[in-house]
């Protein structure tokens, strides 16, 4: 048995280290380390509650709007603030804008460049992969044409954030009572034009068909028929590569999927529903947020009395850098004691999207299904955004004032591109007395818990082939694919 320490991973957000035990060329045990701690939960204590809206987006440069939305929801829960319809639509537009930009960044900038590595040089699709997906830095010159086009489309796309939120990342426009920027009639026309520009890029380059055709896919055979209609598209090339590289059987998750529900509606429901999909039972279960807890046995953090896992409303964040048995700054979140996977795949499964259901049934939650769930979500989000933009009522309010109480507590559950994001806060004497954050990659990249059960990635890596183990210098493209298939955000993970 040999031991590998892999890191720093690039093309993930933040710093990540993975330790692998390897036997006979395969991973038999994995430990995931989130090596950077800043202590936002400590920094927030004592601040004016509204200060959270300036501080928490800065936890993460790629999930910034998602952090704002979760915080605004928690503060609204604490104060009773209600967003007027326009504010809700504008918030959802910003959240969807970030979500789509992140999925695009993941596919083109983070994930696909791995298929231009030398290890794949003999594959039939290698030349085409290089032409389209070579990385922006260190790739062959004149290559990566689709990556470059995607980045340009993304920059234009973020002009939506310029208009609605002033800038991205780190907007201050999202508030408990709505948004701070009303949209004029002519601006709506301009924003619709931005949506159409992105639609054109997606339909020409990523999908090769109308978004609606992708969104309507409902079975494996429908996907095969679709591929024959869009043979030159990037998604079709991904399907070819995935089939040749065996991505469908790589990196299976725990089979339990968590979604807090995305894009809140006025009646409290969500456009993409809230819940848990249990693949073992083939059932959608209701989510009980009171069963969420964080276990700190293997984190460099002091544990509560008796070392029991704590609900976030009672959670602790107290560094203990010399703690024995710890190997990461990340806590181990569990729902009713169980490991969960979260992300686009969870949202699509909980929401009942039939193609993703069929693929998860056939292959499980693997590298292949995770990536396809993201692409499916892109195809589903943009038409929704067109609807929300048209639903804005000119001259109706975007924001409604609501005073912040001196004593209160609130919970904000939302969905970032990477999955379930929750904020739990208490206000005492008009100040933040308690703030706990559980981020998507806190779930997916959690360490072992007190019972020794590994987190989702730790389990998904077991069985992965290590190409050339030479002391601590081993390489494994399989490990690369599995890690990036979760689209990890390490700065959110520990915060």
């Amino acid at each position: 048995m040999s031991r590998l320490v892999l890191g720093p991973f690039n093309r993930v957000e933040g710093d990540l280290e993975v330790q692998l035990e390897v036997q006979d060329g395969r991973v038999v045990e994995a430990r995931v380390n989130a090596p950077m701690f800043r202590g936002f939960e400590i920094m927030l204590a004592g601040r004016d509650p509204i200060d959270a809206l300036t501080i928490v987006p800065r936890i993460c440069g790629i999930c910034s709007v998602s952090q704002s939305v979760a915080s605004a929801k928690a503060l609204a829960d604490a104060s009773g603030a209600v967003m007027p319809a326009n504010g809700l639509h504008a918030t959802n537009l910003m959240l969807a804008c970030e979500n789509l930009a992140d999925h695009l960044t993941h596919f083109y900038v983070f994930f696909m460049p791995d298929f231009t590595r030398e290890v794949y040089a003999a594959r039939g699709w290698f030349g085409e992969a290089q032409r389209r997906f070579a990385p922006l830095v260190g790739g062959a010159s004149g290559a990566g044409l689709h990556n470059r086009a995607a980045l340009a489309a993304r920059a234009r796309w973020l002009e939506l954030m310029g208009a609605l939120g002033g800038k991205w990342p780190h907007t201050g426009a999202i508030l408990p009572g709505g948004t701070s920027r009303a949209i004029e009639t002519i601006e709506r026309v301009r924003l619709l034009s931005s949506l159409r520009e992105m639609r054109a890029f997606l339909e020409l380059t990523l999908f090769g068909t109308a978004l609606e055709e992708v969104a309507a896919l409902d079975s494996v055979s429908a996907l095969q028929r679709w591929q024959s209609r869009a043979p030159g598209s990037d998604m079709a090339l991904f399907l070819d590569i995935a089939s040749d590289a065996g991505l469908a059987s790589l990196g299976g998750g725990p089979g339990r999927y968590l979604s807090y529900g995305a894009y809140a509606q006025g009646d409290g429901a969500h456009v993409l529903g809230r819940g848990v999909w249990d693949a073992h039972l083939q059932q959608r279960l209701a989510l009980d947020p009171s069963r969420i807890s964080e276990d700190m046995r293997h984190a460099w953090l002091s544990e509560g009395e008796g070392g029991l896992p704590l609900h976030p409303m009672a959670g602790l964040t107290q560094p203990e850098p010399d703690k024995a048995g710890a190997y990461t700054w990340n806590k181990a979140p569990r729902l009713a004691g169980q490991v969960m996977e979260t992300g686009a795949i969870a949202r699509q499964l909980v929401d009942g999207q039939p193609l993703i259901h069929a693929l998860a049934l056939a292959h499980g939650g693997t590298v292949y299904t995770r990536v396809l769930a993201r692409l499916m979500e892109i195809a589903r989000i943009l038409p929704l955004m067109e609807q929300w933009l048209m639903a804005l009522q000119v001259r109706e309010p975007y924001h409604q004032v609501q005073a912040m109480p001196a004593q209160a507590q609130g919970i904000g559950l939302s969905e970032a591109a990477r999955g379930a994001l929750g904020h739990w806060l208490k206000i005492e004497d008009g100040r933040i007395a308690h703030y706990q954050i559980v981020a998507p990659t806190s779930w997916n990249f959690s360490p072992r818990d007190g019972a020794g059960t590994p987190g989702a990635l730790e389990a998904a890596l077991v069985g992965a082939v290590v190409d050339s183990a030479s002391g601590e210098r081993g390489q494994s493209v399989a490990v690369q694919h599995i890690v990036r298939s979760f689209d990890p955000c390490m700065v959110c993970t520990v915060h």
């Binding site: 320490v5 890191g7 720093p8 991973f9 690039n10 093309r11 957000e13 710093d15 990540l16 280290e17 090596p35 950077m36 701690f37 800043r38 202590g39 936002f40 920094m43 927030l44 004016d48 509204i50 200060d51 501080i55 800065r58 936890i59 440069g61 790629i62 960044t105 900038v109 460049p113 070579a134 830095v137 260190g138 790739g139 010159s141 470059r148 980045l151 993304r154 920059a155 234009r156 973020l158 002009e159 310029g162 208009a163 939120g165 002033g166 800038k167 990342p169 780190h170 201050g172 009572g177 709505g178 701070s180 920027r181 009303a182 560094p319 850098p321 309010p397 924001h399 690369q480 700065v491």
Partner: protein, 333 residues
């Protein structure tokens, strides 16, 4: 000659990198390449992974690879107890602050990208649990990780491209100027920030200027009025060109209806008041426009308040243009 750039992420959010990817260009890779900027490694963009970065950093230290610009994003996490263990660079078992110290010694130029790397920034908020600081500053105090007297090999102190996040143009302009050999000591302000953006004020080009002139102030979020008097805006004091350069097409904080929090300034994370409220003494904001004597501000404010046109006053409390400017039928004189 190309400018060899090594970009590392320390105690921050990665938002300056993500902001950079939104640069206003049709081809980001070409923008770098065509201006002589060669990224040796960037955490979000490179193909190379794991082992290659430690090898590359060693090659820079040994002089086998020329390091022209070391870009550091994120604060220097010195804790716990000076050990730097709040961030061990993965795969190396060494604190990030050690890597930064060593690499700064061989780099021709050292850039702090963002306010965390420049001053400590948001990562040094509250009780500053990780003992975070900037490369050459701790808030407004010179020192930081590298010390007050630090000069990179090229002769400049740390170049503080401050902002939270940085505007992509601030970063690309700085790198392009370095690649062209056009950034000297005189091009930096007293806090080490490139003057091309730090000699402007956020107030310049603010679309709320007519409201400012008449002290027609916003009272609540989404109001169109000036946000200086009540809502914490520091645009008249903050050094940055946000309202002339603009963000993500046509945005800025003030244009989106919320206050400038002076994110390019040292110590902005600890304003001593809630970000969204203007601190006042006897009804007068304590943070006055830069270079403005208090007596004149008070006199002008009370005079202009009494002269506020009805249109401006009404619009200042509305989230849309309630009263348009009068149209005249005759030619303007």
């Amino acid at each position: 000659m190309t400018l060899n750039v090594l970009w590392l992420q320390a105690g921050g959010c990665g938002g300056c990198s993500l902001s950079l990817l939104g640069a206003d260009t049709v081809d980001f890779a070409a923008l770098l390449h065509d201006n002589g900027i060669h990224m040796l490694w960037h955490p979000a963009l490179s193909l190379a992974g794991e082992q290659e970065l430690p090898d590359l950093m060693q090659a820079c230290l040994d002089g086998r690879v020329r390091l022209d610009a070391l870009c550091i994003e994120g604060a220097m996490l010195r804790g716990p107890r000076g050990s730097g263990r709040f961030h061990l660079l993965s795969g190396t078992d060494a604190p990030m602050i050690e890597w930064v110290r060593k690499l700064s010694g061989v780099a021709e130029h050292v850039l702090a990208v963002g306010s965390c790397a420049a001053w400590g920034g948001i990562s040094a908020s509250g009780s500053n649990p990780t003992d975070a600081c900037g490369l050459q500053y701790e808030d407004e105090h010179k020192g930081g990780l590298l010390g007050a007297d630090f000069c990179a090999r090229g002769g400049l102190p740390v170049i503080n491209v401050a902002g939270c996040p940085t505007h992509p143009g601030w970063v690309t302009d700085t790198l392009m100027a370095l690649a062209a050999g056009l950034l000297a000591q005189d091009d930096l302000d007293p806090l080490g920030r490139p003057r091309f953006y730090a000699d402007e004020l956020v107030h310049h080009g603010c679309t709320r200027n007519e409201y400012y002139e008449y002290k027609a102030s916003a009272a609540k979020p989404s109001d169109l009025g000036c946000t200086m008097e009540n809502m914490g805006c520091k645009g008249t004091q903050a050094h940055a060109d946000c309202n002339t350069r603009l963000w993500n097409g046509y945005g800025s904080c003030t244009r989106a209806g919320y206050a400038c929090i002076s994110c390019t300034e040292p110590g902005f994370q600890r304003p001593g008041h809630p970000f969204h409220l203007t601190p006042k003494l006897a009804g007068i904001p304590t943070g006055l426009p830069i270079d403005m004597p208090k007596a004149w501000f008070v006199a002008l404010a009370s005079l202009s308040k009494s002269a506020t046109p009805k249109r401006v006053k009404k619009n200042s409390h509305s989230d849309h243009l309630a009263v348009p400017p009068v149209s005249r039928k005759t030619g303007l004189r």
